[in-house]
Each structure stands twice: as C-alpha cells, then as structure tokens.
C-alpha cells in the first residue's frame, strides 16, 4: 500500500505540498484540485519522480527516497501529454523498451508486446511511427507501454486533458477495466463516479477525503467561493 507520512515539498519559496499524510489502499482513488493546488507534485511523489523535502512516501517496505528503482517498477506513471512519454520511433518498440529493464528474455518480452498491443487495439499499428498516431492512440500507447510492465499501481496525471470526448471515454474504459490499483489525478469530474475514494487538494493540503459525490460537491463549492 502507498503511504505518505508528513510529506511537504517546495519549489524555492513556493510551497507545493504541506504535511500530507495518507494511506492509499482503495482500488480506485481520484484526486481533484485547481491548477497550482499541488496535484501534480503529489502525483509525482507517488513513484519517486519528486522526492519530498520532508516526510516520506512508501510502498510496503520501500521508500521513494532510497528505493526509487523498486518503486518505479511497481508504480506506473502516465502523463497528460502522451507525446512526451513515447520514447521510441515505432509503436511496438516503445512498448518493448520499457520491458528491457525487467530482463524478461526475448520470448516473454515479445509475448507481452504482442499481448498489450492487441489488448489496446494497437496491433495493426505496431510498426507505424508513433508520432503519427492520433491523440487517443498515443495515450493508449502510453498506457499500454506502462501496463506492459505490469505495475502494482497506476498513477495517471490528467491523462485525458488533451483528449476529445470519445478518446476520454476510451481511456476511462481502459482505467475502469484494470485489475491494479489506479490513482487518477484529473480535472474531469465525469470520470469520478464509481471511484472508491476521491481526495480534494487545495493549497498543497488534502482538504477533503471521501466518496466521489461529496468530494465533487466540496470541490465545486471551493471553486465557487473564489
């Protein structure tokens, strides 16, 4: 289970997170908050992309400060702009490159590449240049590349921000169907019904923690008050 204990982080004088303490145990967790609320920093602490100035983030016995490599293998991360996440020139190569560090052997690597391309409807595009995919396909490729490593937890930082409604729904369906734990940071409140728990972040703190409908209500009131 991901656990944050007294996590604080600043960028120079700007405080992004203030003493956040959380246990993230539920299967589907949503995180909402305004721009500049500390959401992305919170997301990045979960797989060690950001090591907090104070406090600690742990997954079981591992701490992101000392065991970032172990944690990154278990906590997959999807960014809002898939184009920046795609590293290799072609679709299949991009899925394959993430598997190299797992040292699975050629046969298992090839099997996983085929399986995940098939699962996310990208098998027909396997040798196509990744930069020529549509926005939705790029996000599917980003998801497939991360999920092929079979992480224990998937953290998504606004994965639908750049997508149209159809592709947003497609990504939503993918996230809904995942067996692993999903922590979704989003501005899209329509994605949250059905989640087990939703956090509202404001000013670097978690100001609400509860069921989706109540969290969305709290967030809306917060925004209306500004």
């Amino acid at each position: 289970m991901l656990r944050l204990e007294g996590v604080s982080h600043s960028y120079g004088d700007r405080v992004a997170l203030r003493e956040v303490t959380l246990d993230l145990a539920e299967h589907r967790i949503g995180v909402i908050g305004a721009n500049g609320s500390g959401k992305s920093t919170l997301a990045r602490t979960l797989n060690g992309l950001v090591v907090p100035d104070e406090g600690r983030v742990t997954l079981g016995e591992w701490d992101t400060r000392r065991h970032a490599r172990h944690i990154r293998r278990r906590v997959g991360f999807v960014f809002s702009d898939a184009a920046n996440q795609i590293i290799m020139p072609t679709v299949a190569e991009d899925v394959e490159v993430g598997l190299r560090s797992l040292k699975l052997g050629r046969a298992e690597t090839a099997r996983r590449v085929d399986a995940y391309l098939e699962r996310y409807g990208l098998a027909d595009h396997r040798d196509h240049p990744a930069h020529l995919l549509s926005g939705g396909q790029k996000q599917l490729l980003a998801l497939a590349s991360v999920l092929a490593t079979e992480p224990q937890v998937l953290v998504c930082d606004e994965p639908t921000t750049l997508l149209d409604l159809r592709n947003t729904r497609m990504v939503h369906r993918v996230l809904e169907g995942l067996e692993q734990q999903v922590v979704l940071f989003t501005h899209d409140l329509d994605l949250l019904p059905g989640f087990d728990r939703v956090l509202v972040v404001d000013g670097g703190r978690v100001v609400f923690d509860g069921p989706p409908a109540d969290a969305v209500g709290h967030y809306t009131e917060l925004m209306d008050a500004r």
Binding site: Y11, S40, V50, R65, A83, I87, M88, T90, P129, L132
Partner: protein, 216 residues
C-alpha cells in the same frame, strides 16, 4: 514524411536480411565507390540504388523524397567541381553521394530501429571495458531518431502561431519559441524516462530536477 526514413513495414528480401549484413554491404559499396573513382561506375551505382527500391518492395517515392531533399546540395557540389575541375568529377561525386544516401535510406527503411540498436550495442559491448555504457548510447541514438518529428512539430507549431498573428518575413523570430518548446519536450521526455524506469541510474538524484516541475 520525414526526409530521414523510418522503418517501413514489409516482408521484402531486404527486410529479411539481418541489420549487420546490410550495414557491412553498405560499407563495402562505399569503399568500392571510392576505390573505383570513375564517373561511369558511380552512375551505374546510382542506377542500381534507384532500381533496388522496387526490387525490394519499397515504393519509389521513398527514393524520390531523398533526391528532393538533397538535390540543391548535390547540384552545388557538382557545379563547383565542374567549374573548378572537370565535369567527370562533378558527375562522379554527385552520383556517388546520391547512390550512398539512397542505399543508406533503403537500409533504414527496411530495418527496425530496435534491430539497429541491438547491433550497435553488440558492436559497442567491448567498449564497456573502458567505461562506455552501450545501452545508454543506444538509448541516446533512439531518442535522437524519435526527436526528429518532435523538432519538426515544434517548428510547425511556432510557424503557425507566427502566421496566425499576421507576421511574416522574419523567420529568425521563430528560433526562440522553437528552442523553448524543445527544451520543454526534452525535460518532459527525461521525466518520462525516469518514470518508466528506463534511465535507472538517475534514482536518488532527482532533487535538483524536481525544482523545475510545476506545482500543479
């Protein structure tokens, strides 16, 4: 379509040849063209290089794209050699250059980047004794290939923004926004590499990097 070719899916004879063999043949042809420095040999090689495309199942437009992007340079070299030397040398150099670029392009179009990187890693492996990390170098090469369309996209976006504001005639004004965009892309790609566990050596070194992440 990039002027630098990317893999074109196919099952032609050249697709089935291992990357190492293709590179060796390319090297041999290059050496032979220099060794037999004759304009007739060079023109013959150019004709063979063009003929190779349909023979191995590659559309001729791929060869046409290479010629279109190179012709000003090739013409300039040929004219220079003709005026300051003789026409045979001008013709030979132009034909040699085009033939080799067309052949190299055919190798690129029929070889997956992954195969090329595997070959590169194998060739570089002995250098690990002197501290060269062949995996890291191969990754840099892959990112270089990947960055070509990213640079083109950044340039297109900056140019569209420039035109949308009714500006024209001062293309140097595009340089700063393109560089800023490329730096952002590079930073995001670096972050993605770490997030995907590909650049594992950076673990624990992220403090300085995170100071530039937005506080969203």
């Amino acid at each position: 379509m990039n002027t630098v070719g990317l893999y074109v899916p196919g099952s032609g004879p050249l697709h089935r040849v291992p990357a190492g063999a293709k590179i060796l043949v390319l090297l041999a042809v290059g050496v032979a063209l220099v060794a037999f420095a004759d304009h007739r040999v060079a023109v013959g090689a150019l004709a063979a290089a063009i003929s190779l495309y349909p023979v191995v199942g590659l559309p001729l437009r791929h060869a046409g794209g290479v010629v279109r992007s190179l012709w000003p340079f090739v013409l300039a070299i040929a004219l220079f050699q003709t005026f300051f030397g003789d026409w045979q040398t001008g013709l030979r150099l132009a034909a040699q250059l085009l033939a080799l670029v067309l052949l190299a392009n055919a190798v690129t179009l029929t070889t997956r980047v992954r195969e090329m990187l595997d070959l590169f890693e194998r060739v570089c492996r002995p250098l690990s004794r002197i501290g060269v990390n062949s995996d890291r170098v191969a990754l840099v090469l892959a990112l270089t290939v990947r960055s070509i369309p990213m640079v083109a996209a950044a340039w297109r976006a900056a140019r569209e923004g420039y035109r949308a504001r009714g500006l024209s005639g001062r293309p140097h004004l595009l340089v700063v926004p393109v560089i800023v965009q490329l730096l952002r892309m590079a930073e995001a790609t670096g972050e993605a590499l770490v997030a995907r566990g590909i650049d594992e050596d950076t673990r624990g070194e992220y403090g300085s990097r995170t100071d530039r992440v937005s506080a969203d």
